[in-house]
């Protein structure tokens, strides 16, 4: 990936982490930028290209930092702006890019802007938020945090009015009908771009605009805002990426790419639960359907695909039947369920089954889109569903089996989140140091996987054509880019399977398995029979020699 | 004179003794043959009875209607009758052999003729028995087919078929034993045309459905009962 390539994000492997729980350099029990800087070699060694940091703004931390009280600073517990600059420089030195969070939809109710806005109806910032004398406006909008919120309106006793909030009640929504808000947000972006960040993951974009009689999601005016911000970005910078968080159906996310003049990237939310579903069903149908349903996007754009992240495994974009199925198969304990989702990490969801973990990562790295790895999943970290909210998947990184898993030198009781310490997923069993010493550990396997993925642009930029073998337990698809072709075959079943693939169009090609470089029989005119072990997968580079 | 009479008597007596001397051994042999034959015939009767019981001959005859016929004629059951027949055939055979040993020319001629007649008699009996079976089967098949096909006079049809087959069998049996040959042949020729009809109906035994359909098509005289109009299933 060239440092000068403006489309670098299309080929990047992203790594999402929380500074707070990555590495503590000061011994106060909280991760910080200096600690993160010290781990950049590890991240480089993993093979990832871009780091995505969860919010590090000053915040009352009632939503783990997504409730921002100051857009122009770093929270002191993470360090200083200088620490951030040094981190950025060190990352760039190692060829790592960095994108940060940009929470544009709302602020904390502790933000100075809101404090001013609520102080009086005549305050100049009053109109920076959405106010109403009644709570029955915008009745068509759904409640997102169902487990905690009963309404999208909250009563402000200070200004004797209701304010609009699509998320927690302590997160009032900004009013993007106000041009001043747009300008200020642009200022925020400029601030961080000038510091050197390579882009932003923009939180909660569908909800920027409200209109009566609508669902207040994905409204046309929202795109005006986004085009405005993107226009400013392009006119001042190059090679920066905006990644949209829009938890919608693919066809509803498509508008957020615009004509290449809005977001460069957007998460493909509906694919993720369907990968888990396909694995459990042992049936490729959910994956094939959602990918085939995904509309084409501009050439300069890219989907962001992932297995897990800092939020619950969202089940918003599935049917009721599918949701019930996912709950029954992956979250029998109701404590694991939150807000129409499942708050578990990858390894516990897959019962720490190495084969399934590998298969899911293999699919992540070969399906169309830029893959995003969630910190800790590369070593198979566990979770703690008994921590509140989604904190169970945001526990400290497990570096070694020693004091506080090498995360911090503080007293264990002082840690910002408790460590996972059970015999199965605890830091004594699952940690980076142990896995670095083991050739065939999950960590080393992930490194090899990412290396192989990066060896060919066909994964990041190629077209995708699904094959339809009669055996529905086998997912097979062809990635093609110019003359380069890679055949991906995955066994979604817990038992060995045979698959007959119709590869007549590829007759004459020689499949070379990409991990071991082994030759497989040449493709002929008849069905190509492959046998796969449980949860096995192959990536075949097709050579014509 | 007295001396002549005495001499003649002496001569006759000596001739008689000579004849007796010649006859007695033969007589003893004949009696031995007959006794042996009786023993063997008894064994054969037992044997035949065993075999017929094993193949359920009585049951078959009951189905063929022969049992009923025998009962009405106050004859013993078919199995016993067959066993007895076998007994008497064997015994008669030995009797004839024994008589043949005696050397009486007239009787020897009779024995030869009888020996030639018995196999034909056996075949004739077999023809009659088979004919009974076939006739009964054909009668029942025709009767049932005619009733279910709503044909007119089913009993008449069935009876006609049975009669014709019996006549055929009887004619064949009589022809075997060469009794009233000319009369039999003539009568048979006259009846032959009717037998063809019986065979056509008897075809229903093997192709009852086809026969019925043919009959239904050819003889739609009797009013249909409406069986096909009902929703039976």
């Amino acid at each position: 990936m060239s440092a000068l390539d403006p489309l670098w994000y299309k080929d990047a492997v992203f790594y999402q982490l929380s500074v707070k729980t990555f590495c503590d350099s000061t011994g106060d029990g909280v991760g910080d930028f200096r600690g993160l800087t010290g781990k950049l070699d590890y991240l480089r060694g993993l093979g990832v290209d871009c780091l995505w940091l969860l919010p590090t703004f000053p915040s009352p931390f009632r939503d783990d930092g997504y409730d921002i009280a100051d857009y122009y600073n770093i929270h002191p517990m993470y360090g200083t702006l200088q620490d951030f600059r040094e981190f950025l420089a060190a990352a760039h030195e190692r060829g790592l890019r960095v994108i940060t969070e940009l929470v544009v939809n709302h602020t904390s109710d502790q933000h100075a802007w809101f404090k001013e806005a609520r102080s009086s109806r005549d305050n100049p910032r009053r109109n920076w938020y959405v106010w109403s004398d009644s709570d029955d406006r915008y009745a068509g909008a759904r409640i997102i945090f169902l487990d905690t919120e009963r309404s999208n309106w909250a009563w402000d006793p200070e200004s004797k009015a209701y304010y609009w909030h699509r998320f927690f009640s302590h997160q009032p929504d900004l009013n993007y009908d106000n041009p001043a808000v747009r300008e200020e947000i642009w200022n925020v972006m400029r601030f961080w771009l000038d510091l050197g960040v390579d882009g932003f993951r923009v939180d909660a974009v569908p909800y920027l605009i409200e209109r009566e009689g609508t669902s207040c999601e994905n409204l046309p005016e929202t795109h005006d805002v986004l085009k405005f911000l993107r226009g400013r970005l392009d006119s001042h910078y190059s090679g920066k990426v905006l990644l949209a968080e829009a938890n919608q159906w693919p066809e509803d996310v498509r508008p957020y790419f615009g004509d290449g003049d809005e977001f460069q990237m957007a998460f493909h939310f509906p694919l993720m639960p369907r990968m888990f579903m396909a694995l459990r069903l042992e049936d490729r149908k959910p994956i094939v359907e959602i990918v085939e349903r995904t509309p084409a996007i501009p050439d300069s754009c890219q989907w962001g695909i992932f297995l897990r992240n800092h939020d619950e495994l969202t089940l918003e974009m599935v049917t009721e039947t599918e949701r019930d199925y996912m709950y029954e198969e992956y979250a029998r304990d109701p404590v694991a369920r939150l807000n129409l989702g499942i708050r578990r990490r990858l390894a516990p969801l897959l019962e720490s089954d190495r084969r399934r973990i590998e298969l899911m990562n293999g699919m992540l790295m070969s399906l169309p889109g830029a893959p995003i790895v969630y910190y800790g999943d590369e070593i198979g970290m566990g979770d703690n569903i008994y921590l509140g909210d989604r904190n169970g998947v945001r526990t400290p990184m497990q570096w070694n089996g020693g004091w506080n898993a090498g995360f911090s030198s503080a007293d264990p009781e002082r840690l910002v989140q408790p460590l996972i310490s059970n015999p199965l997923y605890g830091y004594q069993a699952i940690n980076v140091e142990s896995q670095e010493r083991t050739e065939h550990s999950l960590l080393n396997w992930m490194r090899r996987l990412i290396t192989v993925r990066r060896s060919s642009r066909v994964f990041s930029r190629g077209t995708t054509t699904f094959l339809q073998p009669a055996n529905h337990r086998v997912l097979a698809f062809l990635r093609s880019l110019d003359r380069e072709q890679v055949l991906v075959v995955c066994n979604l079943s817990s038992t060995a399977q045979a698959a007959e693939l119709d590869l007549r169009q590829l007759a004459g090609a020689l499949p070379i398995e990409m991990f071991g470089k082994s030759l497989f029989p040449r493709i002929g005119g008849a069905s190509y029979v492959l046998t796969l072990g449980p949860y096995d997968f192959y990536w075949f580079k097709l050579r014509r020699i | 004179m007295a001396q002549m009479i005495a001499d003649t008597l002496r001569q006759v007596g000596m001739n008689f003794v000579d004849a007796l001397r010649v006859f007695l051994p033969r007589g003893v042999i004949t009696i031995s043959i007959v006794v042996a034959g009786w023993l063997i015939a008894t064994i054969v009767r037992l044997f035949v009875r065993r075999i017929l019981r094993w193949v359920r001959f009585n049951l078959a005859c009951e189905r063929a209607g022969i049992a009923a016929l025998l009962k009405s004629a106050e004859l013993p059951p078919a199995e016993a009758l067959a066993a007895s027949t076998a007994f008497w055939l064997v015994l008669v055979g030995f009797l004839l052999s024994g008589v043949d040993v005696l050397g009486f020319a007239t009787i020897q001629g009779l024995v030869s003729a009888l020996a030639g007649f018995i196999p034909r008699l056996l075949v004739s009996i077999a023809i009659v028995v088979v004919g009974f079976f076939a006739a009964n089967l054909a009668w029942r098949a025709t009767l049932l087919a005619a009733v279910n096909a709503r044909l007119p006079s089913p009993r008449l049809l069935g009876g006609a078929v049975r009669s014709l087959i019996l006549i055929l069998a009887g004619a064949m049996a009589l022809e075997q034993v060469a009794v009233a040959r000319t009369i039999v042949l003539t009568a048979f020729a006259i009846s032959f045309g009717a037998v063809m009809l019986g065979l056509a109906i008897a075809f229903g035994i093997g192709g009852g459905g086809i026969a019925r359909r043919i009959l239904e098509h050819q003889f739609p005289e009797r009013e249909q009962s409406g069986a096909d109009d009902l929703p039976h299933l």
Binding site: L281, T321 | E62, R63, R155, G226, D228, H232, L233
Partner: protein, 423 residues
């Protein structure tokens, strides 16, 4: 497990791809192009609506159709919503159409379907009739549901029929089999059923598949086998049954096949019912559906008029089968004036006598069933005359009474069953 010769390579190929399933629906066909598409669609809707999480497959076993039935099965479109809805299926649905090998007839087709179910380890199997146009997704749910819930091994349908329909069932098969097997079943001749994997495996191991019974009477054999095989059986209301047949055999053929099969079935399963002394109703699972319409009535007097003449004609044959007392009663009946009044008692005695005669083979067995046909028509005619204007509950009560009578006469049958020669 299934014999290899049952499964052509093409079918094996498909089954390998299908793998294990939870639900298999089988449809035997022969020239059903006019109706099969609707049946296939109903099956797929049932899969989506009632078994969205289950691994499912539809298997069509075809007897060599010349009207493109297999192609219609394969290509019948099943509309799915363009957007993902509540009823959207989670899994791939497989649909297989394959010819069967073996003796022509439903038995071979059914055997192939059961073999496919066995190999795919199907937990629940339903078999449908391709000619029934009233089939709905709820039929499949009703047949499969109790099995899938692991409550029953065998589910028999109950159709919404007017009690004056299906006389062959109501006058002979139902009372006979109900009394003999000791289970009161509404539709012992049903072409549809639901079964468990356990029942499927056991059925394949039975010695019926190459016989004439498999060819013409597999439906009644399946019922009898389930009842006598120690399986948990129940009945499920399906609704009205509307059948569109391209080829309807004549009454005689139907009667021979049905009654002959019923008798043969009873004979082969005698080991079970000879010692069974009670008669119990089978549980009914599910709500009743729909209402039955009154069938087009046939004039019973035509049947009874023919009956009198038939008795006279068949006297000699009937005398071989029926006892003297029964014969005398029949004579009195046939010579009686006025509308024919055929008592349940006499009818039950006659049916059992014919069954005994069949068992002992007092004559050719097809002759025995042929001889019963006119008596059945007379009985049917008398029943129709008597209940022509009765309301359905009254007719049902009369049919229940008939079944009870058969049950009461059973001990006499059992007593004579193993004694040769006595009538």
């Amino acid at each position: 497990m299934a014999e290899d010769s049952l499964l052509p390579d093409e079918l094996l190929h498909h089954l390998m791809a299908v793998g294990q399933v939870d639900v298999l629906v089988g449809i035997p066909t022969l020239n059903n192009a006019g109706t099969i598409a609707d049946v296939v669609r109903a099956v797929h809707r049932a899969f989506s609506r009632y078994f969205p999480r289950d691994r499912t497959v539809l298997v069509n076993s075809d007897g060599g159709s010349t009207d493109d039935t297999p192609a219609i099965v394969r290509d019948a479109s099943v509309e799915e919503a363009d957007t993902l809805t509540v009823s959207h299926r989670l899994r791939t649905t497989h649909r297989i159409s394959t010819p069967y090998h073996g003796v022509p007839g439903k038995g071979s087709a059914l055997r192939q379907i059961l073999a496919a179910a066995d190999l795919t380890q199907a937990r629940a199997v339903a078999v449908l009739d391709p000619e029934v146009t009233s089939v709905t997704p709820e039929w499949i749910a009703a047949l499969i549901g109790p099995v899938r819930a692991d409550q029953y091994d065998f589910v028999m349908p109950i159709y919404n029929r007017h009690p004056l329909e299906a006389m062959l069932v109501t006058q002979i098969v139902r009372p006979l089999l109900g009394a003999i097997y000791g289970w009161r079943v509404r539709e012992p001749l049903a072409a549809e059923f639901g079964g468990s994997g356990r029942f499927v495996t056991w059925s394949l191991e039975q010695d019926v598949w190459g016989s004439e019974l498999a060819r013409y009477g597999i439906d009644v054999w399946i019922t009898g086998a389930a009842l006598s095989g120690g399986f948990r059986c129940c009945q499920a209301p399906l609704g009205p049954r509307v059948q569109t047949s391209t080829h309807t055999p004549g009454f005689q053929d139907v009667f021979q096949q049905v009654v002959g099969s019923a008798f043969a079935c009873v004979e082969t399963q005698a080991g079970y019912w000879v010692t069974r002394q009670t008669a119990e109703p089978l549980p009914i699972v599910g709500p009743s559906r729909g209402e039955a319409s009154r069938p087009a009535m046939v004039d019973g007097s035509r049947l009874t008029d023919a009956f009198r003449a038939d008795i006279r004609a068949l006297r000699a044959v009937l005398g071989t089968i029926l006892s003297d007392d029964t014969m005398a009663a029949l004579d009195r009946l046939s010579s009686s004036a006025g509308p024919l009044d055929f008592p349940d008692d006499l009818w039950g005695t006659i049916v059992y006598a014919f069954l005994l005669a069949y068992h002992r083979a007092v004559m050719r067995r097809d002759h025995i069933t042929q001889a019963l046909a006119p008596l059945y028509l007379g009985r049917t005619g008398a029943f129709l005359l008597r209940h022509a204007d009765a309301d359905p509950p009254a007719v049902e009560a009369a049919l229940e009474s008939l079944c009870s009578r058969f049950e009461q006469l059973k001990p006499a049958l059992v007593e004579h069953w193993n004694q040769p020669g006595q009538r």
